[in-house]
Symmetry: C2
Subunit: 342 residues, 2 copies
Amino acid sequence: MTLAINQNPKPMSNIRDVARLADVSVATVSRALSNPEKVSPGSLAKVHAAIAELSYKPNMLARNFRSARAYAVLVMVPDIANPFYSLFIRALEDRAQQKGYAVLLGDTRGTPERELEYIRRVETRLADGIIQLRPSSEKSQNIIPPDVPCVNACGCEFTSGPAIRIDNRKAAKMMVDYLISLGHKRIGVISGLRDNPHAIDRLAGYKDALEEAGIPFDKDLIAEGDFTMWSGLNAAFQFCNMDVKPTAIFSMNDEMAIGAMQTLKSNGFRIPEDISVTGFDDISYAKYSDPSLTTISQPAEEMGKLAMDMLLKMIEGEPLSQRECVLPTEFIIRKSTAPVKK
Amino acid sequence: MTLAINQNPKPMSNIRDVARLADVSVATVSRALSNPEKVSPGSLAKVHAAIAELSYKPNMLARNFRSARAYAVLVMVPDIANPFYSLFIRALEDRAQQKGYAVLLGDTRGTPERELEYIRRVETRLADGIIQLRPSSEKSQNIIPPDVPCVNACGCEFTSGPAIRIDNRKAAKMMVDYLISLGHKRIGVISGLRDNPHAIDRLAGYKDALEEAGIPFDKDLIAEGDFTMWSGLNAAFQFCNMDVKPTAIFSMNDEMAIGAMQTLKSNGFRIPEDISVTGFDDISYAKYSDPSLTTISQPAEEMGKLAMDMLLKMIEGEPLSQRECVLPTEFIIRKSTAPVKK
DNA sequence: AAAACAACTGTAATCGGTTACATTGCGAGT
DNA sequence: ACTCGCAATGTAACCGATTACAGTTGTTTT
């Protein structure tokens, strides 16, 4: 009876083994791989034969070390399980892969400690730069050292560094304009946390629309959530119990809108007959919610692509054509909105 | 007027700079960082002072290169935007971070080419191992070379290597048992693609339950989807147009169930009064769908944690206590199921 | 025929850590 | 007094690639 120990006698070969077998120098092997046009056809063939023979795989760790580049970017995201972020990340990863970079995942769970750990990865050269998916307020943005290449792709304003974003204020105004055009005058808001940049911008848009239509702002119509379904579900209770109920609700993201619709329906409201509900982001569930949700679509794919391109330019020292890039949003009307009841 | 060029004169310092400033050898600096107990308090203090003075950050690229370890694992996933996978990934990343490993994201979009590119990352040492989130059939599993550490965490059976999974067959049987106990006899299935391992296992469970209850299997009750909401929506039409309609539908995941409910409701079915619907996975939307979905919850957090632990053990050469780990599922009854109409 | 040039190749230094091994100094055991 | 053991430290080799520089051809120019 034999014990199968050490079955793999480490056939791991390096560039010198290849050089020896191909009877050329290591420089020639290296060139054959990265600058084949500088190597004679004869040598090239010998090198390739040797590589095949040894099933040689270049050690990228050594290559990266030598070139002082990790060929990796870190994506810092508050919560990967959030469908809006994961869509984004898919686009980022796709682009990075195309350009020969790897994506390191950095889920911060919203804690600054985690964030620091990830920033340290760039400082210790494990990553070449950061894509920030966190909506950062002025103060929090500063924890990223100035020499760390970073692009903010959270989509909101008031960031200091390079950024890809949408015009949250305009998009929100457009949505509320639409509700007003349907005859709604008492429009509830389910907001994100008060100091969240997205919430600030979108609330400004809401106020813009109200002002333009001559509707006075009523702070009782603002319910605070935290962008989770659960918080939307709770926030909606505030409206159910009002004496003069709103006829429409502008939720600052789709998840809260879906949560809110749950509450409203179970409290006897018909959507959209009794009350209209709108979302923001156009996550995939928005189309399949009951009723399907009128919302604003962010070009996540496009934003991810552009953000990655921008970061890679910074990393490779190319000049940036623009510090900030504002992308258009799409307004999507579905079944959750209707003219106000007479 | 001055142009601000070269403001950062690269203060990048290495271990030799630190050694010089602290007046010790590089070995002592290295030890001070990785084995401080082997360094005298005096030297330790000098080293730390020098590190602070130079704001030295060790070059992990060099460290990893020397130790021939990337301290990174690649997570290979068919689609990061799938909420079930993203939950999983969050758990994986959390665990990896704890153990000092980075997570490289590898979204394959289901293509074997992409998969090969990611496998190459391990072969070229950019990652130390792979967590496979793809349900792999026998043949497809083989593209991973035997010397690449890999743990399959997709949760299904019949994988050759180490795996974390649930008992899909048993869970499916339990769900169908429950429907039968409610009096349902004609139970439709919305399946995944015919050769998907999850679909195969869960269908087996469905048949087990039918057989035990003495209900004959009717292949017309099987509608094929591909685990997307859209496919669930379409699959449900097959049941709406039947002469003798099913009184319950067992969908093989939540997303298809949510899509199906959409179709059923718009075709005048009341859920659960006219027809019961069940899902699988317990994604976060299952709780907020209309009606909330009876489903099976997989312990994604736990599975992710265990899978990562298993992989890291393999990478670090520790023996595995078990090749396979089967975790229990939870059966969650919500509002989408009810006794069959009299 | 000599010089200039191009195309190809090889030698060896280099990146920034880790660590085997050698060395030193000091206290304890005999 | 001598040896031994131990802790602390230093020297230098090493990991596997890239690449500057030098060298060797063979071809073209003058």
